[in-house]
Symmetry: C2
Subunit: 532 residues, 2 copies
């Protein structure tokens, strides 16, 4: 398969139609059957593959940045009697294990991003299910704040993965039905084994949808609800959006060491002082431009370079300019665009947290691990800081809750297990360049070799990492990065995803006679009946 | 392999030495190398297999019931310079996947039981590591409240699973180092990749152990700490223990339907009124005798009958007598033995929650799903209650927090997603027999067929369950049963275990060239380097 690109724009969409009328955007799924990323499957019934979801992700992002006037996003289908049939099964069945897992991760992140828009952006997503929503289709609806289902004899919601495919709904469905929608666990169990799904009043009674609407009243009821949700928005509707133009690749560079199975990601700091007024912020504002590039690099490497198991995180530039940009943003948090930039940086850092690659941060003479960029080091599995005068890190207000992890805590809170006294001690050093001895004492870095030892220590750490079982590293990192409490989001990437990965890898799903591969062939799957 | 029995007693121990002096018990690991459950491996260096852990579980139980005078349990080794090398690697490498997973589950439950004793029984476990504690050996220590390590040049703690075996520490290690001991995540990462381990002051500085003690002062320091912990115990030390004699098989019966891949577990209620004084309670007291039998049945079926994928839970007897026994216990909770019985029932119900079998409860004319036994129905994935006069369930105080799940919530709280108003409405019906319509309205049961439909509905549900992928069912149940918040315990069975199961199943661990199977052969493992 060719290298997958995550860059697109509405003029190139093959699978979605975006239209905006006043405060309400309508994003209609209209999947091009012939538009699959790979050969061998047709995207029937609004089923999706990664290509469809890349466009969805792009739409979610642009709605937030380019359309501040939009307060409600109606997610619906342009096809008759079908909302969305979920991930394409032939695509899944033909995909190698790492592809399936990476695909699910990205789709999960996009759905979490939809929830982030509803919760924090004043852009509330409304699912208008004008036809059947099955599997990933219903899970997409679950990511919306309000779910309307057309009430006819055929339109149902369903999670048929278990009975039909021998796998789990892989994009948060099991977690969201109970933890978000509070469907009772026994009903959820029954629903998830009933491939024919549930519609109408029963779907409402079971809390699977919020409202069932007769066809005759459909358009009007959806429009009324969209307007009602828009009325509650925090967005003023009077701001001007910015255009997310093509990526410039100014701030984030990668350097691949293929024999060493590692890649160095260098994030450059800003080159100039930020303006003083939020009106000065545009798409070229460093924090936004850098975040877009970093986001793209993460997605690109995860998808296209699975053998580069170690990511070495570096920064280069002027820490004071990073801190100045941070301050500019934090001083203007009530501005819608500033809010969006901070939320986007938060989401991008969360991508790092769930990335199944070892992350090693290197703090060196030209580094600028300060404030927002210090989060890169705090997201890393290990940090090396050169013990030489002038090599420093700096904490600022960005490090104390503005950019929470999926568990709802800052990376410092997670790191120090909620030890408030220690976190306060760190906070008291805000703005002060912390050289190695200080950073080490405060527990902010892992190792502080001096110049004599630096090269060897770092080289050994990277080489050693590359020698370990990639699977065991994935499992270990998925545990240590999420110390402490769990949220719906971390449960989706932890409990749910780990079980799904296991199921995906088992012959009962993916073997030649497994349910995923025998679906549609007329053959019944042949299961190993032993419970594990 | 022969059917594994979980019944033993100290006179039959091959691997442990239990001695008691006043308020302090010493449980010393002294594994018989030739005493493995199966052929093909020697239990060198105090490594363990399921047989060793069955004895440990027995010791934990007997200490609680038979030795109320014991306030501190010192867990140590009878061998020189080695505490415990963890699970036997050759045993693991030779074991089929379901065996490995079930083995880890049981060992995890035993370690959780140790923590329960320290937290709730006034019997505090102290790990006295008189030699190296590696892998599962260190994880066993992590289950204790206080960890002492002898400070010499060779005694270290380590988690070498990842670097040496390409798997995770499987008994809670990754969760406990960060979430219980608050080891910083980057240090935990480094520690878990460093097969040679950490000893002495560094182990203390990194919070891996609480104290490093020079050999000369070892015995005295351990004894002093044991006495100190005993001094804080809630146990009076003046009570008389009861003897846990051989199981009587009076209250719990199983009926296997092998072609249907299901088993019916029938729990009989008590036959007589309980006494009125806690002094009347002995090992034959219904709640205790029933719990012991149920515990044994769960362990037996999980280990020996992996193809019986559906457990049908029935009760038979007089609900009023169940409620009378509940009342007797709840009225005497300050009695040490009553406390132990309730804690044991709690732990046994938790075993059900993490059992990878579909649980279907049937409420029929002769049922006694009341109070403590109602928890069986609340633990089930689905419940059927016959809609006929006189067929009822009853809630009592047992259902409102006395028997919490691993997530710290009652099964009703988990079921109703913490909807306090609804839980209050259920509570108001305490003691009242709830027939099908009422139970359904209160959301306590899933289906209420009448006599006409009962047989068909139940049969179809059981048959259908048997037709699904056993793996997908395991994953689904592991998600739905733990709706809501997570705790260290649920994280161990969710996030950690699911990742470990996945890793266990991957060729990088268990394939012919995987790390687990090539360990000790002199061959380096051959890894698929793709990160997933």
């Amino acid at each position: 398969m060719e290298r997958i690109s995550f860059q697109t724009d509405p003029s190139r969409y093959r699978h979605w139609r975006l239209s905006i009328e006043g405060a309400v955007a309508t994003l209609a799924m209209d999947v091009d059957e012939a538009g699959g990323l790979a050969e061998g499957y047709e995207l029937k019934l609004n089923s999706y593959d990664l290509g469809v979801d890349i466009e969805l992700y792009d739409a979610v992002q642009r709605l937030r940045f380019e359309h501040p006037e939009v307060k409600t996003v109606v997610l619906t289908s342009a096809k008759d009697k079908i909302f969305c049939a979920g991930a394409n099964i032939r695509m899944l069945a033909a995909s190698p294990h790492p592809w399936k897992v990476n695909f699910c991760k990205f789709t999960n992140e996009t759905r979490n991003g939809i929830e982030d828009a509803s919760a924090n952006s004043g852009q509330t997503w409304l699912a208008a299910l004008n036809g059947a929503a099955s599997g990933g289709g219903y899970e997409l609806a679950l990511a919306c704040e309000y779910v309307m289902l057309i009430d006819d004899r055929s339109s149902v919601v369903s999670l048929p993965e278990l009975p039909l495919l021998g796998v789990l709904p892989g994009t948060g469905g099991l977690t969201r039905v109970t933890d978000k929608r509070h469907v009772r666990r026994d009903i959820a169990d029954y629903f998830s084994t009933r491939s024919e799904g549930v519609g109408g009043r029963k779907a409402v009674a079971w809390k699977l949808v919020d409202e069932a609407v007769p066809r005759a009243a459909w358009a009007e009821t959806v429009a009324r609800k969209a307007a009602e949700l828009a009325g509650k928005s925090t967005r003023t509707g009077e701001s001007q959006g910015i255009v997310l133009g093509p990526l410039q690749h100014r701030y984030v560079a990668t350097d691949i060491d293929r024999p060493g199975r590692s890649v160095t990601i260098t994030v450059r700091g800003p080159e100039t002082e930020p303006g003083t007024h939020p009106g000065d912020i545009d798409a070229e504002f460093w924090t936004l431009a850098m975040t877009r590039e970093l986001d793209d690099v993460i997605l690109d490497l995860r998808t296209n370079e699975p053998e580069l198991g170690t990511w070495i995180l570096r920064t280069a530039g002027d820490a004071d300019l990073v801190l100045a940009h941070d301050r500019m943003l934090l001083d203007n948090r009530d501005n819608w665009l500033v809010n969006e930039i901070l939320l986007y940086l938060k989401r991008t850092l969360k991508r790092l947290d769930v990335t199944s690659r070892s992350l090693i941060a290197l703090i060196e003479p030209d580094s600028c691990f300060a404030g927002s960029l210090l989060e890169l080091a705090l997201a890393a599995d290990r940090t090396f800081q050169l013990d030489e005068p002038g090599v420093a890190i700096t904490v600022d207000a960005m490090n104390f809750g503005v950019l929470p992890m999926g568990n709802g805590l800052s990376r410092l809170q997670t790191r120090f297990a909620g030890d408030d006294a220690h976190i306060k001690a760190v906070r008291e050093r805000t703005g002060e360049p912390l050289e190695a001895a200080d950073a080490d004492k405060l527990g902010l870095v892992t190792f502080i070799p001096d110049e004599l030892d630096w090269d060897d220590e770092v080289r050994i750490a990277v080489e050693e990492r590359a020698s370990f079982s990639p699977d065991a590293l994935t499992g270990m990192e998925a545990n240590f990065r999420f110390a402490g409490p769990e949220t719906m989001e971390t449960k989706i990437f932890g409990r749910l995803t780990a079980w799904q990965n296991w199921i995906f890898h088992r012959p009962n799903a993916s073997g030649p006679d497994g349910a995923l591969r025998s679906f549609g062939t007329g053959q019944r799957p042949d299961f190993d009946r032993k419970r594990v």
